[in-house]
């Protein structure tokens, strides 16, 4: 009997503790649906619209060189494209990083991607045509964005030599709640994606210092490929980054957001905005985020 009672009390405490973690059901019903009206989802899902909105608010985003929505534009773009040496092609409505090609060099009429692949103009044209036709956005017509390639800050580059790292900030009603750095690895094929084996590094919101890191749910202290220490690093321009995130949350008419920011040599740049940010960040940071959300709902600042 005593043991049963103890078990019951332990279980009750655990369930109470589970209250501090934001589950998927509560994220949707409590935060995404009430704070992010469906009609404004476009501001996150359509990357071209996101960029235009942020640019209008004078926030830094990678410069858009070209956007291609129609087939007749494909031939017209050759001249413009040939003037570019380094750029990124991405579908405006793609998800999970699919359909993104990063070009880093232009030699003898052909382009070279960061992964070492050579692209002729015909190759790029085909890829852009695919994007327009909706290959990366479930068959819906899409727009291809050709934009500036962000050259990341040297310190971040040391942490993430396999590809562009980004900092995901969760923002609720204008306040930054949680932040993590996502690092590309060999396993993640150069993408900063946690599902694919990217490393998630927790950042202390106050100080901008990294304090814990995980890959596939396992705690690590050093980069799995390079062995570089990941903890105790202070992220450069941290205050500017936090302010940029807050300003983006103000510019985009959504209340519960994941804002993805890259750090270039000249400072933070917003890559994209997510209207249904994942909840894995709680595991990365080693703490549930529900209490913080409740504090904000109660009208207090953090």
């Amino acid at each position: 009997m005593m043991n049963l009672k103890r078990l019951y009390t332990a279980l009750k405490t655990d369930i109470k503790k589970a209250d501090s973690v934001l589950g998927m059901n509560r994220r949707n019903l409590g935060y995404v649906y009430p704070s992010n009206p469906r009609k404004y989802f476009e501001f996150a899902n359509n990357k071209l619209l996101t960029k235009k909105t942020l640019e209008a608010a004078e926030l830094s985003v990678p410069e858009t060189f070209l956007s291609v929505s129609y087939f007749y534009e494909l031939t017209e773009m050759e001249e413009k494209l040939r003037r570019l040496k380094s750029f990124v092609i991405k579908p405006s409505s793609g998800s999970g990083g699919s359909g993104i090609v990063v070009i880093s060099d232009y030699q003898e009429g052909d382009w070279l991607s960061v992964s070492g692949k050579t692209y002729t103009f015909a190759d790029l044209k085909k890829h852009i045509a695919d994007i327009i036709f909706g290959v990366y956005s479930f068959g819906l017509n899409d727009t291809a964005i050709i934009e500036e390639r962000v050259v990341q800050n040297s310190l971040i580059s040391e942490l993430s030599p396999q590809g562009l790292a980004d900092i995901r900030v969760i923002n609720y009603k204008g306040s930054n709640i949680k932040a993590m750095l996502r690092i590309a690895t060999i396993a993640s094929d150069g993408r900063a994606n946690l599902h694919q084996g990217g490393v998630g590094v927790a950042i202390d919101l106050e100080s901008g210092k990294t304090f814990s890191a995980q890959v596939h749910g396992e705690n690590i202290t050093h980069h799995p490929d390079t062995g570089i220490a990941l903890l105790g690093v202070t992220i450069p321009s941290w205050d500017a980054l936090l302010r940029l995130s807050e300003a983006a949350a103000k510019a985009i008419p959504l209340g519960y957001l994941g804002i993805d920011i890259a750090l270039s040599e000249s400072g933070p740049v917003i890559l994209e905005v997510n209207a249904r940010p994942g909840i894995e960040i709680q595991n990365i940071c080693g703490e549930g985020m529900r209490e913080l959300l409740c504090t904000i709902d109660a009208g207090k600042s953090i």
Binding site: D14, L29, G96, S98, F133, R290
Partner: protein, 534 residues
């Protein structure tokens, strides 16, 4: 702790109330005013029997015949189906028996004749009055049941001697006679699995026999005592395939033919899974001698609604069954309606798996649709076919990726590939006699193509293992949806009370506001939830 979830509005509560009220008032009306019996909703077991006869010949005339069961107080035969291949079927009645015969003028090569029927039977136990003397005078039509016949040597001295040993000088009453003979054969004789013919005397001398020897001896002994008796041939129904038929006896006592089986010890009793096929000392299959002949019984256990419930519902006004007759009049069968009624229930199962348990599956309601289709193929074949089609199509899709095609034509090719693989599966299934698998063509084709596409995308973006994991979970959810949707109790319940669909909406309305942690999230966030208590 305050949360971001708004308290349910009055409109929400009002909708809940209206739907609950509609459900329970309609159910209450049926239960208390129309007197529906809930107990009758619990289904009973029935058996689908397939007689499968494989013949091969060399161009000659061929004829095959066998006995078909007849409905009695013990057994009810329905839903007879025949797949006679090139043969013409003729069904005739010969005395107490029903004979099916198949004929064809020139048969070469191998052919398969199938005949199916559905059996619902009752377990019947008879009470034999004690102290009733064996009647001296019996009507003429019972006389054949007292006479000797081949293999049943009623007047042999050995039979008489045995009866003398069992009963002495005194003539026993009916009950005692049957009791003693039954015990004698049940306990003093070894049961052997001979397949050949054993006559009564041989069985008696050897003190061992299979069912046919024991039955002939039972008949010889009872006839000698003046009790009319006969042999019964039939089948013991168990899930699976078998060739073995069974024989037992029936004895005429005061207007009733009462069953006895001294192999499995049924005294004046016939269990639910005994199927009577013929009366008399017959051979189950007959065929012309110029052929190779093989037969097999395939028996499938099925749950069916109780007869009483069906009758009760037909009888009352405003009843469910009469309602369904409207659909039947335009060609929508009750079976189809049952399936349609079960789809919302399957959807609820999926909602629970997704939102309460937190399992990721392909497509939101794909598992319910596959589970529906699996009613025809059986769960196992349904799952195998589903997984095989998905894997094959996903592989094809990877190949199409390599060719770099635009999305819509690529999806059209995927759809075509799914159709082709279905046709091939069906053809192979028919050739190899896995007829259940042949129903794979009922699968929702477009949804399979989209699922294959999802499989390929997940495989590409998150790895093959992840795609396999989701396939596994999809199979789990299909199984759960199948279990609920094919539950006969649920089917009977929804046919009797279709207003329960409102209740399903209520449950979904409630689940739609449920913000608790999913079970899988307790595992996912275990480090946060169960971390060292300090």
């Amino acid at each position: 702790m305050r949360s971001g979830v708004k308290t349910p509005s009055y409109i929400y509560r009002f909708t809940l109330f209206i739907l609950l009220f509609a459900t329970f008032s309609l159910m209450g009306y049926k239960l208390f005013v129309l007197e529906y019996e809930l107990a009758d909703l619990i289904p009973t077991v029935g058996y689908d029997v397939e007689v499968n006869m494989q013949v091969s010949g060399h161009g000659d005339k061929m004829s095959i015949s066998t006995y078909l069961p007849i409905g009695t107080a013990h057994q009810n035969i329905s839903d007879e189906r025949s797949a006679p291949d090139i043969f013409t079927t003729q069904i005739t009645v010969d005395g107490l028996n029903r004979i099916a015969s198949w004929q064809a003028p020139a048969v070469s090569g191998t052919h398969i004749i199938r005949y199916n029927y559905f059996v619902e039977a009752e377990h019947v136990i008879y009470d034999i009055d004690r102290d009733v003397p064996i009647s001296e005078k019996l009507p003429d039509y019972l006389q054949p049941y007292l006479a000797p016949q081949e293999g049943i040597q009623v007047n042999d001295p050995l039979i008489e001697q045995t009866l003398h040993e069992l009963f002495g000088e005194q003539k026993p009453d009916t009950y005692e006679a049957l009791r003693t003979i039954h015990h004698y054969l049940q306990n003093e004789f070894q049961t052997r699995n001979f397949s050949g013919f054993t006559d009564a005397l041989t069985a008696l001398k050897l003190k061992e026999a299979s069912c046919n020897g024991k039955s002939r001896l039972f008949v010889a002994l009872t006839r000698k005592l003046g009790l009319p008796s006969r042999l019964v041939g039939g089948l013991i129904l168990n899930q699976g395939s078998k060739k073995t038929s069974h024989q037992w006896v029936e004895v005429y006592v005061r207007g009733h033919w009462i069953p006895f089986d001294t192999i499995n010890n049924y005294f004046a009793e016939i269990p639910k899974n005994y199927l009577r096929l013929y009366y008399g000392d017959k051979v189950l299959f007959k065929h012309t001698t110029n052929i190779n002949f093989q037969y097999m019984f395939h028996i499938t256990k099925k749950l069916v609604p109780r007869k009483e419930m069906k009758e009760a519902m037909y009888a009352s006004p405003l009843n469910a069954y009469n309602m369904y007759k409207i659909f039947e009049s335009i060609g929508i069968s009750q079976n189809l309606l049952k399936i349609i009624l079960m789809i919302p229930l399957g959807a609820l199962v999926i909602v629970i798996f997704r939102n309460v348990i937190g399992i990721e599956t392909f497509g939101t309601f794909l598992p319910a649709l596959i589970a529906t289709a699996a009613r025809e193929t059986g769960l196992m074949w349904g799952l195998i076919a589903f997984l095989a089609i998905i894997m094959v199509s996903a592989m094809i899709r990877r190949f199409l990726d390599y060719l770099q095609l635009l999305h819509s034509p690529k999806m059209a090719i995927m759809l075509t590939v799914v159709v082709i693989s279905m046709l091939l599966t069906t053809m192979v299934a028919v050739q190899t006699s896995y007829l259940d698998l042949a129903h794979v063509s009922l699968f929702p084709i477009a949804i399979l193509a989209i699922t294959a596409e999802r499989f390929a995308i997940i495989q590409e973006e998150q790895g093959f293992l992840k795609a396999l994991r989701i396939s596994f979970f999809t199979a789990v959810v299909i199984t759960a949806a199948y279990a609920v949707m094919s539950s006969l109790f649920m089917q009977s319940l929804f046919i009797a009370f279709p207003e329960l669909l409102f209740f399903l909406i209520v449950l979904n309305l409630w689940l739609g506001k449920w913000v608790g942690m999913r079970l899988s999230e307790f595992i996912r966030f275990r480090k946060l939830i169960f971390k060292a208590k300090s």
